[in-house]
């Protein structure tokens, strides 16, 4: 068979036309028959979940000094959230811990502070800021702010860059330098652990709020920690803050911390 340029061009043109009409036909056919056949149901918020406009916590420092429930608070939190107990202080992982006045409120200490404040430990945790710098720093949006004010982490998305740790002015974040599993004495199967290379911090017990429970530390604090909705003027926390003077950590930074310390 003798091929000429003319016949080659004819054949290739015809094939291109038929191929394209075929694919257009496919698209038309599939879009015509589309109905919503998704076999996935709907998700909704559980009716028993505690909801708020703006969650906040009030720490009654004197009450806590009297009933000495710090350790109970720390223990229960770290236990239910599978926080590892690292032997080396440099690898420490903590969600809630105690510290002295001069470290908790730097710049506010002076030599005439009553002795009791110099000595008593203050409970510190993530401040669930209104303008969280960690959220702005996070390149993967693993850390985000929920509409109820809780600054939360999606551990699945954390790539361990630790920008959030540098950004947090309160040192509320810890990094897992090692696989935490061997350092958890008793694993709570109800909550995942973390893995090596992930940052973690207090989550205001989001998983307990979803079940209608108060945060664990609040529950064991015997009234020294009060948790509630600052968006609701009738709530206990709003009422307390109206009556009693409270200070916050590093308020001049503009991060808007939501942990209030009654002094």
């Amino acid at each position: 068979m003798k091929n000429s340029r003319r016949s080659f061009l004819k054949i290739s043109g015809l094939s291109a036309l038929s191929l394209s009409s075929l694919s257009i036909g496919n698209v038309l056919a599939s879009s015509a028959g589309v109905t919503n056949t998704s076999p996935i149901g709907d998700a909704s918020v559980k009716p028993e979940a505690l909801q708020a406009k703006k969650w906040a916590m009030v720490v009654d420092v004197k009450k806590l000094a009297e009933n000495k429930r710090y350790e109970a608070c720390i223990e229960i939190c770290h236990k239910i959230h599978n926080v590892p107990n690292m032997p080396n202080k440099r690898h420490e992982v903590k969600w809630i811990w105690e510290d002295e006045f001069k470290h908790v409120f730097p710049g506010q200490e002076h030599e005439h502070i009553p002795d009791e404040f110099k000595e008593i430990p203050f409970l510190v945790l993530c401040n669930h800021c209104e303008n969280p710098s960690c959220v702005q720093a996070c390149p993967t949006k693993a850390t985000f702010k929920r509409d109820d004010g809780i600054v939360l982490m999606d551990f699945h998305r954390c790539i361990g860059c630790r920008f959030c740790m540098a950004a947090c002015p309160y040192g509320s974040r810890s990094f897992n330098f090692f696989d935490p599993r061997p350092f958890i004495e008793e694993v709570n199967p109800e909550f995942p652990t973390r893995m090596k290379g992930v940052v973690e911090k207090c989550n205001f017990c989001a998983e307990r709020l979803a079940k209608g429970q108060q945060p664990a530390c609040v529950e064991v604090s015997e009234g020294a920690l009060i948790f509630g909705d600052l968006g609701d003027h009738e709530s206990e926390v709003s009422q307390i803050l109206k009556k009693r003077f409270a200070i916050r950590r590093k308020p001049n930074l503009g991060s808007g911390p939501q942990i209030y310390y009654l002094v």
């Binding site: 076999p39 996935i40 149901g41 709907d42 998700a43 909704s44 918020v45 559980k46 009716p47 979940a49 985000f144 929920r146 109820d148 939360l152 999606d154 551990f155 699945h156 694993v187 709570n188 199967p189 109800e190 909550f191 995942p192 652990t193 973390r194 893995m195 989001a206 979803a210």
Partner: protein, 136 residues
């Protein structure tokens, strides 16, 4: 027109034969030796329940998408209650005990690993989530 002539016919054909043999080697070498697709062993509880959160065919093919959608929903949107199309409610959780995926699918070895090992996929769910306690 001059008749086409193939130069070095023997060498070319021998080379082509060797090439075809090498390329198709994995196919005929493994012929008839294909491992049978694994059978998932459902726990008694899963058998009794009969239905999962979505039709079986969908769960087989798309369970990873469901898990991904659920993660987004639970972690970011606070929505933890799933209503399936047949009107049942489920707690959206992979691994928090009775009221979660592993409440029914109680054995990781019999349920997850069978297919994952066969397909050579290594999901890292259990690096963080606590595995179901195997009933040994």
């Amino acid at each position: 027109m001059q008749k086409n002539k193939m130069y070095d016919k023997e060498k070319v054909l021998a080379g082509l034969t060797i090439f075809v043999i090498i390329v198709t080697f994995p196919f005929w070498y493994n012929m008839g030796k294909a491992a049978p697709a694994p059978e998932i062993k459902l726990s008694d509880k899963a058998k009794a329940a009969k239905v999962c959160v979505a039709p079986k065919s969908f769960m087989t093919a798309e369970h990873m998408q469901i898990l991904d959608v659920w993660r987004e929903s639970v972690v970011r949107n606070k929505k933890r209650l799933y209503s399936s199309l047949d009107g049942k409610n489920y707690n959206m959780s992979l691994s928090t005990g009775e009221d979660s995926c592993i409440g029914c699918h109680v054995s990781k070895a019999d349920f997850c690993d069978r297919c994952h090992t066969y397909a050579s996929v290594r999901p890292y769910c259990w690096d963080c989530h606590i595995e179901p306690k195997e009933n040994k």
